[in-house]
């Protein structure tokens, strides 16, 4: 099996070709065409043990909602995107940005408990525009830029999902 993987770590993104070959209960590995002194084994549904030149690593793996893999090795985290020719995945859309207009998204699921500004109000960067309560904590959501509140997309008392648009500042 041959896979192209884009790995994102603390120091940036890189693309690699990983080839796996099954050898009994272990897997042999080559990376970017070079055979490695390595073997790997899935030791739990979400954990892989990798032996690399005698160095032992344990990697915990999970798939996030957008399909990328989250990888944890002790305190270190990576994300990986598998570029699998057999799979088709739609492109991810970034937040709408039209010439300085900013859409403020809910950073977590919760309930809008208070609107702090009205449509048409002028706001400073960092000024609170509304308050979302989640897990009994009230969190003020701030404007990312100075400008005018163009639209308020939620009402007080409304439940919101993570990523839902709350307000547009232009």
């Amino acid at each position: 099996m041959k896979l192209e993987i884009q790995l994102t770590g603390a120091d940036g993104k890189r693309k690699h070709i990983v080839e796996l070959e099954q050898k009994g209960e272990l897997w042999g590995v080559s990376l970017d065409g070079q055979a490695l002194d390595a073997d790997a084994m899935q030791i739990a549904p979400n954990a892989v043990s990798v032996m690399l030149g005698g160095q032992s690593f344990e990697i915990h793996v999970s798939r996030s909602a957008d399909g990328t893999l989250n990888l944890q090795c002790g305190p270190h985290e990576f994300s990986a995107e598998i570029i699998d020719p057999r799979a088709w995945r739609g492109r991810k859309h970034g937040p709408v940005e039209v010439e300085g207009r900013q859409e403020i998204l809910a950073p977590m699921p919760g309930k809008v408990v208070r609107l702090l500004v009205a449509v048409g109000a002028t706001v400073e960067a960092g000024q609170g525009v509304l308050v979302v309560e989640a897990m009994k904590m009230q969190n003020e959501i701030r404007s990312p830029k100075s400008g005018k509140v163009e639209r308020l997309l939620v009402k007080e008392g409304q439940s919101v999902n993570a990523g839902q648009a709350l307000c547009v500042v232009a």
């Binding site: 954990a47 690593f57 270190h76 989640a134 009994k136």
Partner: protein, 505 residues
């Protein structure tokens, strides 16, 4: 002794109480809201009853429903845990009316000590030093603001019924007063059903050190020593330890005496905590009494060898505390970190969701009090505390080393947690020296992040290999006829292992 106890709580503390009951051979009854059907405290209980929808005001805060369950299931006692109704005197009253023993102080002792204003008045009478401030709730925001102006900023707004940082706001200046008042009152109303707030002068840079007391119904009140809880974010304790790095045996005795004096003056029974602020010259000021079990009680348990929940139950069952406990001195050092479902990289926003995988630390000196499990979905409706990781060691250094080691073993995937925050705290030179105060963590977080230690060579390659293997295993599993990456164990290998076992002495 009791036959059956109703646990009027959820999460890790409900599980903690369940475990104590099981060890004592007492039957347990849990209650749960609609979103908690699959929670650990429901799974582990002997009996469990649905008491309402997700909103705690319609479930965990409904005394009438709790009493119905207690009567229906034949409970003879109720443990409130912490939070929810634990410090609401209406609950012990309802228990008395229903003929059920409340595991905690009497409603009268709760009123005399638990409310922050009443506690302060009592402290003055018992000659325990207090921080300047109002001792009564203030109804009118403009009156409160005028008082704040005359007292001088910064001031602190606190919910009368509060605890755990809910309904509490520091007001740095006059301009911030109105919005802070609004937030504190509405948070207090949501969390405790009581929006009353009072005002206090805010001390700059004090330590938070508290004394655990136990009092039986036969006039004995003892101190189990202190806990240092100065590492706080937004007034929420994040790391707690016992003993405190600055408390000398003499100061411990003085603070313990003051706490016991206060407990006696308030006619207190059962477990309670007297919180103090301690300034740079080691003067201590009474802050408040928590008339319940604390979140951080395990650190006291680890250094005293006592089980506080079992002692609470014994005291409620009218047992006497033995004399010897009055001379307790801490053995070794214990430290607790509170794991929350929140994202430290994104302003600590709550991160509810499904726990895809959970690998927990074990080994020498490690204790984990948790309320979650792999495959469970953390609801968005409650406090995001997932678990408490507690380490014990012979010295503070050994304890910190064990805690660091355990944090590296602890992996929770699917939700964001604050585990990375503890790695950072446990590496800070000031923390290692014990040079901490209640604003220390907020100041640390305001500084730029130090660059994370780079992973050892090979980590990136290992991550790539793991990603490829996991991905191919997943796609094989979903393709009919695909081979699973793990084959059945080799019979040759099994035979070899069996023979080796036979050779073991």
């Amino acid at each position: 002794m009791f036959k059956k106890i109703l646990i009027a709580n959820r999460g890790e503390i409900a599980v903690r109480i369940l475990r104590a009951c099981r060890e004592l051979g007492i039957q347990t009854v849990s209650v749960y809201s609609e979103v908690d059907r699959a929670s650990l405290h429901v799974r582990l209980a002997d009996e469990a009853y649905l008491i309402g929808p997700a909103s705690s005001r319609e479930s965990y805060l409904r005394i009438d429903k709790l009493m119905d369950v207690a009567k229906k299931s034949g409970c003879d006692a109720l443990h409130p845990g912490y939070g929810f109704l634990a410090e609401n005197p209406a609950l012990p009253r309802a228990c008395v009316d229903a003929g059920i023993t409340f595991i905690g102080p009497s409603a009268e002792a709760m009123e005399a000590m638990g409310s922050k204003t009443a506690g302060k008045q009592l402290a003055r009478r018992a000659e325990v030093p207090t921080v300047p401030g109002t001792s009564d709730p203030i109804e009118n925001p403009s009156e409160a603001q005028a008082l704040a102006q005359s007292m001088g900023y910064p001031v602190l707004l606190k919910a009368i019924a509060g605890g755990g940082g809910k309904g509490m706001r520091v007001v740095p200046n006059d301009a911030a007063f109105a919005s802070a008042w609004r937030d504190a009152a509405s948070e207090a109303l949501n969390a405790f059903g009581d929006q009353r707030v009072f005002l206090e002068k805010y001390l700059v840079g004090p330590r938070h050190i508290e004394i655990q007391i136990l009092a039986d119904a036969h006039g004995r009140c003892v101190s189990l020593g202190e806990r240092e809880c100065s590492v706080q974010r937004r007034h929420q304790k994040v790391v707690e330890e016992a003993p405190s790095p600055v408390v000398t045996p003499e100061l411990r005795r003085k603070m313990g005496d003051a706490a016991v004096r206060l407990g006696r003056a308030g006619g207190y029974t059962n477990a309670g905590t007297v919180e103090f602020l301690v300034d740079a010259d080691l003067n201590f000021y009474f802050l408040e009494v928590n008339t319940r079990l604390q979140v951080e009680h395990p650190v006291t348990e680890q250094v005293t060898g006592l089980d506080l929940v079992k002692l609470q139950i014994a005291i409620a069952a009218d047992h006497r505390l033995p004399f010897a406990w009055e001379t307790i001195t801490p053995r070794g050092h214990a430290m607790e970190v509170r794991l929350y479902a929140e994202d430290p990289d994104n302003n600590f926003f709550p991160s509810p969701g499904k726990i895809i995988s959970c690998h927990v630390p074990t080994g020498p000196g490690i204790r984990l009090d948790e309320g979650v499990y792999e495959g469970w979905t953390v609801p968005m409706d409650y406090d995001p505390l997932l678990s408490k990781l507690i380490a014990w060691g012979n010295s503070r250094e050994e304890t910190i080393a064990r805690l660091r080691r355990a944090l590296d073993e602890y992996t929770i995937m699917g939700i964001r947690t604050n585990v990375g925050l503890f790695r950072r705290i446990l590496a800070e030179p000031e923390f290692l020296r014990g040079a901490i105060h209640t604003k220390w963590l907020d100041e640390m977080l305001a500084r730029p992040h130090p660059p994370a230690a780079s992973p050892r060579p090979g980590t990136e390659e290992a991550a790539l290999i793991a990603a490829a293997l996991w991905h191919s295993a997943q796609s094989n599993a979903s393709t009919p006829g695909g081979t699973a990456p793990q084959e059945a164990p080799s019979r040759w290998k099994m035979e070899g292992r069996r023979r080796q076992m036979d050779h073991m002495p």
